[in-house]
Symmetry: C2
Subunit: 206 residues, 2 copies
Amino acid sequence: MSETQPRRRGRPPGDGREAILEATGDLLRERGISRLTTREVAARAGVSEASVFYHYGDRAKLLQAAFDRGLAPLLAIAAQGEVAGADRHQVLERVGRGIERFLMEAMPILTAAQSDAELRDELAAMMSERDLGPHRGVSRVGDYLAAEQAAGRVRGDVDPHAVAASFVGTCVMRAFQATMHLPTRRLPPLSAVIDALDTMLEPPPG
Amino acid sequence: MSETQPRRRGRPPGDGREAILEATGDLLRERGISRLTTREVAARAGVSEASVFYHYGDRAKLLQAAFDRGLAPLLAIAAQGEVAGADRHQVLERVGRGIERFLMEAMPILTAAQSDAELRDELAAMMSERDLGPHRGVSRVGDYLAAEQAAGRVRGDVDPHAVAASFVGTCVMRAFQATMHLPTRRLPPLSAVIDALDTMLEPPPG
DNA sequence: GTCTATAGGTTGATAGAC
DNA sequence: GTCTATCAACCTATAGAC
């Protein structure tokens, strides 16, 4: 993590550990967890298979490490502060893109875990414990809309968190579709959804 | 499929083919595709492993058959007619529950396919060819809202299909969360989202 | 830390009797 | 159609040299 020496270009010689983790993540996304063998990982990382086990003990621990890294964006977005900004439309645009981007990184991990009940349950336990999940995004956006509502800039007769759920849900749907390698072009663009929600959130004149 | 004889109770003797397919689906949902071995399938179906290969040729074709069956609800919802009804709130409630129910059935199949690039790409090709996906639900709900808009029962300054996307997205998010065995209780209930959208869709008085 | 070589176990698939 | 028995391939993991 911390280095006093100036960084050199390329991978430091002998840093097989990092190369292995990177190869694992790449294979996980490209070929899927079923095709993820320690053989393939070693080959792509340019090391021997024994090195994989030397560094990570067994396949399960290697997967765990790859999952931890792959879910980092999910932790990052959860750790972010409050949502704020002058223009509501711009705020939703920025937050929505962020959620989609984060989900696109994490989604392959989430779906990969579904291939094995043990992995799935471990992941579910971890996420429950840390209170992770889409509801975090919903809370963040919902709190923002609630503040806007309190300031009189959002109509008072709707539940801000319910609207936030529909917004985050749109992002989840789009990310899920993209992860499955299905075209998202048949879905309304995110900006259109933001336009509609933004318009409907406007307080009635008078 | 068609039988002139009166049906007997229970599984007909010697219908191993059906038992195998059922066992495959069960294992797929319960333990995940990585743990789905022909051995386990045979054991749960109460037949020998050779029977599995006799009926389905190889593991890939067995999976294909299980996928076809598991995605039937997706085909069913796509084949449904137009959405209609007197009360908009009730219509959204009914359609939303339907989408959630269908997705809860199909989601394990969709995520299972992500474990193998070959399966994933085959599924994506099949869905593209048949024009399947969340956008079908979005279209159906969007067309309904557009009709309501034309009838003056939905405000005219929003894109009905964009609102429909946010609605279907909510259902996708909830189904995805449930499939991952994460609690959906931290998300706003679907009825709250319907309430909010319904309220916001109301045309301004006057 | 990294390698080669290999043990040990699991899996998909086939052969042949009934 | 269903079974038992078996095989070849593959995968995880370890041993031991460098």
